[in-house]
Symmetry: C2
Subunit: 260 residues, 2 copies
C-alpha cells in the first residue's frame, strides 16, 4: 500500500528504538529502515554490524527512508546499545528459556506505550537474519516479544518482523476507527416512508399480473417484498434508482402510444 493518507496521525512523542543485532546483510538494514518509517519509527541502532557500516546496499534498499539511516547509531555490543534504555524487548520465534516473560507483539506494544508515556526509554532487539538472537542478547531483555505464526512454516524476514512490531505499536497510538461508513450526503439512508412508497409503487404495478396469483398469495408476496426492501439498508438514492427501474419496466409493458 503506497501513497499519502491524511486520515492517520503519526503518533507524536517518544518512540521505541529498533536495535538490529549483528545484521548480516546491508540490504536488510535498508529494508528494515523502510519498514520502520512506514510506522513513524526513526530511531535505529546497529550492534556490531556483520555487513559493515557504512553500507551502500543498505542506502539503496532504504531509498526514501534514508532519514533513518542518516541518524542511526552503531555500538560494539548489545549491552552498550541498550545501556541507556529502561525497557528492552527481544524478538524471537522460539523463547529458549522459561525464565522470561513472553508477550505477543500486541501485548508488548501496549506495555511500550505505557512505558514511553511514563518517560521510560524502550528498545526492541532483532537478531541476525539467519541465527536470531543469542542467549546473551536475550539476557539483557525484560521480556521476549513474539508473533503468532504457522508452526509448520515460520519464515518472516527481518523487514517483515520489524513491520509487524512497528505496526502493533503504531496501531495503538492511531485514532482510526475500525470502520468508516461511506459518509457523503448522497449516500444517506432511505427513510421508511421512501421504502414504503417504493413498495406501494411495485405492488401497484404488479396488480393483475401473475405475480399476485391469488388473494392470499398476494398478501404473502407483499410481505416478502416488504421484508426484502426494508432490511436491505437501502440508500435514498438507491430507492430512487429502483423506482426508476420499476417505471422503465412497466413502460416497456404498456402498449406504445400511437405515433402521429
Amino acid at each position: 500500500m503506497a501513497g499519502t493518507d491524511r486520515r492517520f496521525d503519526v503518533p507524536a512523542g517518544p518512540m521505541p528504538v529498533v536495535v538490529l543485532v549483528r545484521p548480516q546483510m546491508g540490504e536488510n538494514v535498508g529494508t528494515a529502515a523502510r519498514a520502520m518509517l512506514n510506522f513513524g519509527l526513526t530511531e535505529l541502532r546497529l550492534v556490531d554490524p556483520l555487513c559493515g557500516w557504512p553500507n551502500a546496499k543498505a542506502v539503496n534498499a532504504a531509498s526514501g527512508a534514508s532519514v533513518v539511516l542518516n541518524q542511526l547509531e552503531i555500538f560494539e555490543t548489545t549491552a552498550a546499545a541498550v545501556a541507556d534504555l529502561h525497557r528492552v524487548y527481544a524478538t524471537t520465534a522460539r523463547p529458549r528459556d522459561m525464565t522470561i516473560e513472553v508477550l505477543t507483539a500486541e501485548a508488548a506494544a501496549c506495555d511500550m506505550r505505557r512505558q514511553l508515556g511514563a518517560g521510560q526509554r524502550v528498545g526492541v532487539l532483532f537478531g541476525p537474519e539467519r541465527t536470531g538472537l543469542e542467549n546473551d542478547d536475550i539476557a539483557l531483555a525484560d521480556a521476549v516479544l513474539t508473533v503468532p505464526l504457522n508452526p509448520g512454516f515460520s519464515s518472516l524476514n527481518l523487514a517483515q518482523a520489524v513491520v509487524l512490531v512497528a505496526y502493533e505499536w503504531f496501531k495503538g497510538g492511531d485514532g482510526t476507527p475500525p470502520r468508516i461508513e461511506p459518509g457523503a450526503d448522497a449516500l444517506a439512508p432511505a427513510t421508511k416512508g421512501e421504502v414504503e412508497a417504493l413498495l406501494n409503487h411495485v405492488v401497484t404495478e404488479l396488480e393483475g399480473t401473475a405475480f399476485f396469483r391469488s388473494e392470499d398469495r398476494r398478501a404473502k408476496r407483499i410481505e416478502e417484498l416488504r421484508l426484502l426492501l426494508e432490511r436491505r439498508q437501502l440508500r435514498s438514492v438507491e430507492v430512487q434508482t429502483l423506482r426508476g427501474m420499476v417505471k422503465g419496466l412497466t413502460q416497456e409493458r404498456r402498449p406504445p402510444r400511437s405515433r402521429g
Copy 2:
C-alpha cells in the same frame, strides 16, 4: 523470526483467498506466497498476471512455500476471480470514493472470521505493485481494507501488505495468551514468609552498623527494606540467592577463622 513453535495452532477450516490482481513481478508473487504461508494461508489466485505464469522468479522467491504456488489459480479478470466468493475486501491505502465502507485490517479480520464461520467464501484483493487496484476492481468489493500507516511515508511492498492482512486474520484464530509468565517450578514466587525471613536475616546482620544509625532511623530503614523486598515480586530462588549474598557479605566482615 524463523523456526517451529508448537505453541501456536494453525486455525483449522476455511480461510480467506488471496487475490493478486495483475501482479507485475514474479518475485513478488513468490514472496507473497511465503508471506501467506507464515499465517497458514494457502489459497492464492492471480488475475491476468503481468509477470506471466508460470514464472521462474516466483518459484525461486517462494522457496519453502511452493505448496501455495502449486495450487494457485489464474483468472483473466477480477470479476472471474471473485465470482464464487461471497465477500470481497479490497486493499488500498487511499480509498478513492466515499461510497464504500472502509475497515481497518483488524476490523476486516473480525468480519472475515465471522463470515467464514458462517460458511461464506471470502477473498482479499491486492493490486499491481506500482499502481494499486483500479476503481473497476474496487467496485467488485464489499469493503475497502486499509492499514494505519505514516501519512508521510506509506510504502509497504506487496508481501508486507499480505503479511499484515494475514497476520490480523491469523491472530484472531490463534489462542496464544497475550502474556506468558515464566512457568517452571524453579521460578515459583516466594511466599511472604520467605521474604520476611530474608528481611529478618538482613536486619539482624545490620544491627549495630551505621545503617541503623538511631532508633527511629532503624524503624524507617526496616520499613524501606521491607517495601523493597515485598514489592519486588521476588521468586523463591531469588530470595535464596539474596540470603546467600547476605551471608557472603557478612562472612567477609567476620574476622577469618584461625587456620590450623
